[in-house]
Symmetry: C4
Subunit: 249 residues, 4 copies
């Protein structure tokens, strides 16, 4: 099999990928800044649709994704060392990330992109509070309005899965498809989050840790009451439609 | 109804509003700096009295307030994207915050300004420890001299209220009017604080989280004893009169 | 009574005081940097011996101390706004701190300097973990070699005392005179630390919070065993004599 | 005995030592940055093989190590004040670290280098969560995939040992030789970590605190299940071989 190379893609596809590498490199800075990662752990990826760029090359590529290189420290990340992969998780060579492998979590990201077409960004961390819920195999109950807004209910637990095949990806997808949540806590491993784009997935990772921490504290001296389902539904519906600058009147 | 525009106000009113936008933008930096907010959550507002500036225009405006735009990240906040609102929470257009909506918590801020005339600033956060008390629906007992100084007693719990009408604002006002505290913990939501100006409200938000954290820790291994009421009264009276640079001899 | 003024002191005394103001202003930066203070809470002071500078003026001043101004934020502190006081806690006027009062904790610092002649620096904070032990009125048991090194044993609790007279100062002195510790946890208030100079007192404040935190965590799942007294004694003796750059061979 | 001096070594040995001093000074910045140390506590060292540089001088030196000077603050560390020692922990004089003693933990580092020939770097901290497990004399159970990856199982407890002779070094070596872990929690003292080089030992110190914290949180509300031994083995084997940029295909 001939290795794919970035320069074999159309100019417009290359441009879209270059923009995504810039974005993904920049978003990685949010992970240490929000205390979500230690050392080189954690990664962000973004899907790039190629169909928009008339790209159906010899490999019939309709989309690729951009992800962190493995084992590189956060200080050293920039657009040029971000790795580009096919949706099968195979690296597409380029002239700047020579010798770098994609994140060891690449297979899980790839599985999510293949099976959840509305997902444009995926984030994985080992943030401490979220991971502590994962270590107990326990979902986070929806006892805060912020959880209802952002996650639409509880943050669910995914199965225990070893790295090395599609087990982790399958566990993420199955759990998230049965929930409104953008975050899943993989058993004894840590959180994965998704979004329409990479920035939304990073936001979900930040807020997942935030609510994991707050509910951890709350539970120390009693069992906070779950918000009633119809109230969760009302908060979630409103947040999807009104929050931010989508609906200015 | 014709939309109000900032340029319809008197020059002196516009100047006062410009100064407030500068102040409020700057104070937002204290929120992430003191670990009170995650992502774009949290907001600061400040009242601007217009009567002082001979402003009673076609709408009979006697005051307005300046507040954070919705969903904008803390790095991007500056005086020019702060949003100006009437005390009914309606945006007053201007030439620099075009397309930006005021914070989704604007109705709550507006309600406070309409019903508590001595309040010049309002702050809302989801700071973790304060919100964890809110998640249990539990007030923070006054077991620290710092609480007696700043809050004059316990920090009370407000009702559970959904966003979308005046419920949150009404809950804040009713709770604070029954207390000496500048902070209220809204049930399963988070803290709101008030002050004579926006800086005082920010200080109250910082110290609310500080005492929420310290009392959370203290309670892990026993029940700290509440300070006697007459001692709380003495500390509170002294702090109001002596602390800081108000009374130099 | 005529107010004292800095310019009435000898040139060499003024020089010593100027150096101390520089040092004390700089050391304040260690407080927020080590997460020991919220907002403007917390203060550092340093004694300046005047006898060395042939200073026994009309007031018979043999020493003064330099302390933080009240209610001023950490960003705004510099040598010129540090306040100089007599050992009775009365401000000595100068040309740069005009209009500023000394910290509201000045009387406690002054009492310590008057009654503990070997103390050259005093620090007060409300650091969260140390204050949480204070809130329970509980001393920190010596279960870490770092505590034996730095504090020579348990960190003791002082009495509950209201601000406004010598109660706090007296409680600090009586507690520390009965202990080897450089730190005392004032009941439901917070830690005060001392040192041969201000830097040592700041170090004690940093390490007091560190051990308060670590022992807080340790105790969550069992009762850590106190180090045997003869081992504490051996560690403490060694640390006083060998650590740092005092004894290079 | 004549004191050794750096300039007595071969030019190529001096060059290798100069490079190590640069590296070790730089790695110390990771300790405060990752919240592993308070004040001047904590230290990093790196072995330098001299045999590669044809160095077997009058003292038959085959290797030395570079370590932090005692009691110097993290801001003031740089290559020129790093101290060079023989594997017996005796300082080798040089022209830039004049008057500085090596870290008070030097004997422990030296013992490790003498008895574990594959170790190229050693780190010691008092990081709070790891030290809290040490205070209870309790090993950290392997309930996270990150622990299986990095430590190959539980993080073990070492004996209680006083500073001043080889007790600490012996305790570290005996415990680590009976384990796959790169970290040991010395009873009521704190963690020591090792690595093939100093950067790996720093990484182990960062991840040791990370898993100590996460498992501390997890245990608050239940007992997280240990990962099955064959799964730990699979994760550990994979991580040694695949992770990072060692194996690019």
């Amino acid at each position: 099999m001939n290795a794919l190379h970035l320069k074999d893609l159309s100019a417009s596809a290359q441009e879209a990928i270059a923009a995504a590498r810039e974005t993904v490199a920049g978003l990685h800075a949010e992970l240490p800044r929000n205390d979500l990662v230690a050392w080189t752990a954690g990664n962000v990826s973004a899907r790039v649709e190629l169909a928009d760029h008339e790209e159906v090359g010899p490999d019939g590529l309709s989309a690729v994704f951009v992800i962190k290189p493995s084992g590189v420290s956060y200080d050293e990340l920039n657009a040029s060392n971000m790795v580009v992969c096919t949706l099968d998780g195979v690296k597409i060579d380029d002239d700047t990330s020579i010798g770098l492998s994609p994140s060891s979590d690449t297979a899980a990201h790839a599985y999510v992109y293949r099976h959840m077409s509305h997902v444009g960004g995926v984030v994985h961390t080992h943030s401490s509070y979220a991971t502590s819920w994962a270590a107990r195999g326990e979902s986070i109950p929806c006892v805060l309005t912020m959880m209802a807004d952002e996650f639409g209910g509880d943050i669910p637990i995914g199965p225990f899965a070893l790295i090395g095949d599609d087990s982790i990806g399958r566990g993420i997808v199955q759990t998230l498809q049965a929930s409104r949540s953008k975050a899943v806590l993989m058993d004894r491993h840590g959180p994965f989050t998704i979004g329409a784009d990479a920035k939304e997935a990073v936001k979900a990772a930040v807020l997942c840790e935030e609510v994991a921490r707050t509910v951890h504290f709350a539970r120390a001296y009693g069992n906070p009451e779950r918000i009633a389902q119809h109230q969760i539904d009302a908060l979630y519906a409103r947040y999807q439609n009104v929050y931010g600058q989508k609906d200015n009147t």
